[in-house]
Point group: C2
Chain length 337, copies 2
DNA sequence: TGAGCTAAGTTACAAATGTTACTGCGTTGT
DNA sequence: ACAACGCAGTAACATTTGTAACTTAGCTCA
């Protein structure tokens, strides 16, 4: 029996029939240890999924406010996890649930996807759906330097889970200079691919920030550009590889003329534009995107939602993540007293 | 905060953020005991749900064979639980998952439902869906003597979870005698209700058997009729309150002229006819229904599926459930040696 | 051939979980 | 007002779970 099958069977016995891991080990002729491994593997590989039927009242309220304030079609807010490292996971899961129902219902012709930790978690937790009619399109090129989060891998996995075909945008995100960018995108092949990317019915993207936290800043920027330069030019983060200022306008920086991705103008024509991101350092750029109306559906966490609604003061860009985390866990500890 | 909200919040912290029950208790200012209670309540009230992404290979194979053999549109097979008491739960859950996706996809105009332990579990595990356009219809009258599984309750809950309206078939399943049955169904009100019941797009029923296990045999039969008489007349069980022989034909018994439910002839016109039932004592009647083409979609357990496919010998009607159960658990225990 | 290495199993233990028994407080009814 | 009842909280316990340390078998490469 394949490993996948073992996971499903063990998970069935455990979660549905409710017998102990020791008993499962006996029945399946495995060690208890192995069963334990299988069960956690099943959980984080998304073979078994845990989903919620009723949403949390608090987040529903925030979602309604966000919808009204930024003219969104929908907003989904998940509670901010105490452990900042879990934000991508949690938002990713919520996004997966959203997409699951959305794709089943609307059945769009084409889905454009970006990349990032959040989208990786999303595809991890999607339910398999036989929808060969859906076209999956990559909306941005890949990182050229190695990274644990691979653009192509994400697109491929989306296609696989939907049993659909996919097109990669087989190019780096940034050309070496504006002139070569123009040459590249003038190629028939790229024109087609960019055209396809811009003509999807639904796009699923996350945003990047300009801190050193950002994978894109660390690995994705071409030689001669760094995060500091972008910040100096007024950037608060990027969408589709294009760096934006606080108002969601593209900054005047050479990098934005090197990017190989659809124009924001074309991007705006996409009917359903999902942006899924959260966490403290993504605040500013999320705010910028919303201000500029770049999203029609927002998926984020409760703290970020509060901030977007103006409940919290704007954070200075120099905020230290360690301090922030310490402050947060203190608040939680304080609760106990 | 309402109890439901507490459950959702605790479940979120536990299943998504992955913190311990003790920590949740601290954060939510509850006792660990309370948290523990909330979590299991959340699980069996269906506030959180565990679902599987990939099906078990073995059952998929059986399902394909059943589809071919009985000209079904679909078949869903779940592993037979070791504990016979769990059969309704397990099949019910599978049915809920099926209905969830089915209703989201096809969006039928009207759903007819029956009653029984399996359907109660089904509605327990359905995902809430805002589908006010769906009409929920009761397809059979209610038991007149008290029972823990109430017909009206089930219809109402289906309607509630779909946020839809429902019509009850406000009548007993059986009239006192054939003559009064005819009088009753001649009433305009009942004509309308029976017509509605027979004109749904999807019906969801389970079957009854003729053993003393059967709730219907124990509580639902009118005075003057008992299980033994039905068995003597060749009945192997009932669908829609109508008792059938091994070939799925209505037996010639007075009871079948007392029943207040759609005619099988009309029932057959329903496009999608789901039958969800399993367990050893339902074998014969399931076989009868399939032979007569009364189902288009079957949801049952693996052992029953095997039997239906002819892999197992027909069981004598006098089989003792206690023995069967003992034999089964012995088989499992034997595994360990 | 044998030393060393890897992978899997076994054992053992610490943490987390589920349950039971007990305690005390409030509430109800006489 | 007082007794009886019951419910929620507390603490303690047994079970289950997750993990780490250790062992063994099989294999590779010198």
């Amino acid at each position: 029996m394949t490993n996948d099958q073992l996971m499903v069977k063990a998970a069935w016995l455990y979660h549905v029939e409710g017998i102990t891991q020791a008993q499962i080990a006996e029945r399946m002729l495995l060690t208890r240890r192995k069963v334990n491994e299988l069960l956690s593997a099943a959980l984080d590989q998304g073979v078994v999924k845990i989903s919620f039927n009723s949403p949390l009242a608090e987040t529903v309220e925030q979602a309604a406010k966000l919808r009204a304030r930024f003219a969104l079609d929908d907003a989904i807010i998940v509670p901010t996890p105490a452990d900042a490292g879990q934000i991508a996971t949690v938002i990713g899961r919520a996004t997966a649930l959203f997409l699951d129902t959305y794709l089943r219902g609307a059945g769009p012709a084409a889905l454009g996807v970006g990349w990032g930790a959040t989208l990786r978690e999303t595809v991890n937790h999607m339910t398999a759906l036989n929808a060969p009619a859906i076209k999956v399109r990559s909306m941005m090129g890949g990182l050229t330097r190695g990274s644990e989060i691979n653009t192509f891998e994400i697109v491929r996995r989306f296609a696989k889970v939907l049993n659909a075909e996919c097109h990669y945008l087989a190019a780096p995100i940034y050309a070496d200079d504006p002139a070569s960018r123009d040459t590249i995108i003038a190629q028939t092949a790229f024109k087609t691919l960019l055209g396809e990317a811009a003509s999807v019915d639904v796009s699923l993207l996350s945003v990047g920030d300009v801190s050193t936290q950002s994978l894109q800043v660390r690995y994705g920027l071409p030689a001669g550009t760094d995060g500091a330069a972008l910040r100096a030019a007024g950037a608060v983060g990027d969408l589709l590889g294009r760096y934006l200022d606080r108002d969601g306008q593209e900054i005047d920086h050479r990098l934005n003329r090197q990017v190989i991705a659809p124009e924001l103008r074309d991007y705006r024509r996409i009917r359903t534009r999902v942006i899924a991101s959260g966490g403290r350092h993504k605040r500013d750029v999320l705010g910028a995107c919303l201000k500029a109306g770049l999203a029609t559906i927002l998926i984020t966490d409760a703290d970020t939602a509060s901030w977007l609604l103006g409940d919290l003061p704007s954070s200075p860009p120099s905020v230290n993540m360690e301090d922030a985390r310490a402050a947060q866990s203190q608040a939680i500890d304080g609760h106990q007293a």
